[in-house]
């Protein structure tokens, strides 16, 4: 069994985010990064499968040098090796570009399972998982809450609206995009960290995976026009009065909006 886990490195949740001069992304120079929280659950799920039997866990990430840190963390937690796709040509890729790169890595690795988070903490698109599955021509399940493996099949519980669950069965190879909270993510122990020193990180460019000229800003079908913080003060209504009045008005408002 081989599992490929796709990790994205995103700005640290405590990082102070300032918008860049072009107004299309944030300034990345002086902020800390971490592994996308959703992806940590995907990694943990892969490591649990590994702990329960025979499996090789390969982690991959796209990005500049700083991404090494995320890959090393994953190796410290117990992944076996890493593929770092690093190429300025890939900068500015949209979700489809990213999916192409990851699908190309998956093609080379030919894993039984490709795992990743349902979405990324920074762009929230939830697009990459299904796109990889489409590009690979394999089944996909997203918002996965539980994974069970048996006889070349994967049984997953998926979260639907309102907390309902759906059980689906997929043939391997397949792509699973996991929901947060499906497990408790482990720490990298000191022993794991020291063992990770000897684990390899392969660095590849777009050309190495046969994608030269097909990814990056030029190939993107979606571009970001502008990002901005929501304007202050809009949409908020201040309810005033005594505690009793405030509660009454609030309950009225909740009923009016049909929230209960």
């Amino acid at each position: 069994m081989k599992i490929l886990v796709c990790l994205k490195q995103v700005p640290h949740q405590d990082a102070r985010l300032d918008i860049d001069a072009a107004g299309t992304w944030i300034k990345e120079d002086n902020i800390k990064f971490e592994i996308n929280s959703y992806d940590t659950y995907a990694l943990e799920e892969a490591l649990r499968i590994k702990d329960a039997g025979e499996a090789e866990v390969v982690v991959t990430s796209i990005g500049p040098d700083r991404v090494t840190q995320a890959l090393r963390t994953a190796l410290g937690m117990g992944a076996d090796r890493a593929v770092h796709v690093k190429d300025a040509e890939i900068d500015g890729s949209d979700a489809l570009g990213v999916a192409k790169v990851l699908a190309a890595v998956a093609k080379e690795e030919s894993p039984d399972l490709v795992l990743m988070g349902l979405m990324s903490d920074d762009s929230n698109a939830s697009a990459v998982g299904p796109m990889i599955a489409e590009l690979m021509g394999v089944p996909n399940a997203s918002s996965v809450m539980k994974v069970e493996l048996a006889d070349g099949k994967v049984t997953c519980e998926r979260e639907l609206e309102g907390g309902a669950l759906e059980v689906v069965e997929l043939q391997t190879p397949c792509v699973l995009a996991v929901q947060s909270g499906l497990n408790q993510v482990r720490y990298a122990s000191l022993k794991g960290i020291m063992a990770a020193k000897k684990k390899p990180i392969d660095v590849k460019g777009a050309g190495d995976i046969g994608l030269s000229g097909q990814v990056g800003a030029g190939a993107a079908k979606t571009t970001i026009d502008k990002i901005y913080p929501p304007p202050k003060g809009e949409g908020a209504e201040l309810i005033e009065g005594s505690t009793g009045e405030v509660v009454e008005k609030l309950v009225g408002k909740i009923k009016e909006l049909g929230l209960l």
């Binding site: 410290g76 720490y187 990298a188 020291m194 020193k197």
Partner: protein, 381 residues
């Protein structure tokens, strides 16, 4: 401190692990541990699993065989646990009660007590101070008298951290009253032996640690529980103090930096006379003065760590650092409580707690005067 001493990817990853542990397991429960008067003992197991409890110890006993730079990372992060008592309890176990056992203990003692200590299955305490002898360590009276293959121990120790949590003590006792500095021994005493008991003491700060008075009434332990050589206890304890003092330096500076950051955001948010406190020049001057002191303290700590990593005798520098860093921490706490005004005086305020907690720094682990007494001798006075 991203540099050649602390800056390898392994240091960074270990820092992340400790930080995550502090953020998820310690900080959210900081006030709960204050109420409890000690850390939840089961967390020692978690720390053991993560490899935090035996950084410099031999891998044969479950240690990581690393150097002091990793200990510095550990205590820089534990210093941010928002509970000085908890940090102290952990550091007593990792760096104050176990170093002698690791360095001088017999294989059998290490197998039975060091390996479980590194795994977090057993917690240790260091029992030196007595009601009538603190700074004057050589004045201790607790007596271990040999009876066949046993030591019979009588006496009392006071202000002992981890009094209730500890499974074993590294006890300093008089084994030969006639032998001067050669008359002391370090003896490993399990806390479940008959004749041992403790009373907890009520402190003005460091609420998250269980400080107690220990009583020994005809406590019997085998002579083979002696750590190292009989009669070398005083010298071994003096060496053990070096780790203790350096830990105090690292964690006090780290927690002061944490307090400094908290105070900065307080000063940015607190508006008086129509503008944020942080916009007043007095505030800015105080903040930069503190930052300068902290930076200097950090550099001094760094120099100590480097000497330890390079295997040099760091006694003089550590003594200076203990004196300097603890005073800086106290000064920072005092300035920060002032900038917080009335809120700073509330128990729930980080500045208020730091004010009482940091006061201990110049007393415990060798007081300021003890440091100066040593340095004066070194400098030929």
């Amino acid at each position: 401190m991203p540099d050649e001493l602390f800056g390898t990817p392994e240091h960074e990853l270990f820092r992340q692990t400790v930080r995550k542990f502090v953020e998820e397991e310690l900080r959210p429960r900081a006030r709960e541990f204050d109420e409890l008067g000690r850390i939840d003992k089961s967390l020692f197991r978690t720390m053991g699993d993560l490899g935090m409890l035996g950084l410099r110890y031999d891998p044969a006993w479950g240690g990581a065989g690393l150097d002091w730079s990793f200990s510095a990372v550990l205590f820089e992060e534990l210093g941010r646990a928002d509970n000085a008592g908890v940090t102290m309890g952990i550091s007593v176990h990792t760096d104050m009660a176990t170093p002698s056992l690791a360095e001088f203990g017999s294989e059998d003692l290490k197998r039975r007590y060091l390996a479980p200590a590194i795994a977090g299955e057993m917690v240790s305490a260091i029992a030196v101070t007595e009601p009538d002898a603190g700074s004057d360590v050589a004045g201790i009276k607790t007596r271990a008298v040999r009876d066949g293959d046993d030591w019979v121990i009588n006496g009392s120790k006071i202000y002992i951290t981890n009094a209730a949590t500890a499974d074993w003590l590294c006890l300093l006792a008089v084994t030969d009253p006639e032998a001067g500095y050669g008359g002391y021994s370090q003896i490993l005493v399990p806390t479940d032996v008959p004749g041992f008991r403790y009373d907890l003491l009520d402190k003005i700060g460091n609420w998250g640690s269980d400080t107690g008075q220990l009583f020994f009434e005809d406590v019997r332990v085998p002579v083979s529980n002696t750590i190292g050589e009989i009669g070398r206890g005083f010298q071994q304890q003096m060496m053990q103090f070096q780790d203790e003092r350096l830990v105090a330096c690292v964690s006090s500076v780290a927690s002061s930096e944490h307090l400094w950051e908290e105070t900065r955001s307080w000063a940015q948010d607190r508006v008086l006379f129509g503008k944020p406190l942080a916009k007043m020049q007095n505030t800015q001057f105080k903040m930069v003065e503190m930052r300068t002191d902290l930076r200097a303290a950090k550099e001094l700590v760094r120099a100590c760590v480097k000497q330890r990593v390079d295997g040099e005798d760091a006694t003089e520098l550590i003594t200076m650092a203990k004196l300097f860093c603890c005073r800086v921490s106290r000064r920072v706490a005092d300035e920060c409580i002032q900038l917080h005004g009335g809120y700073g005086y509330m128990k729930e305020s980080m500045a208020g707690r730091a004010f009482v907690d940091s006061r201990l720094l110049s007393i415990g682990g060798g007081s300021d005067e003890t440091m100066m007494h040593y340095l004066a001798k070194q400098l030929g006075f």
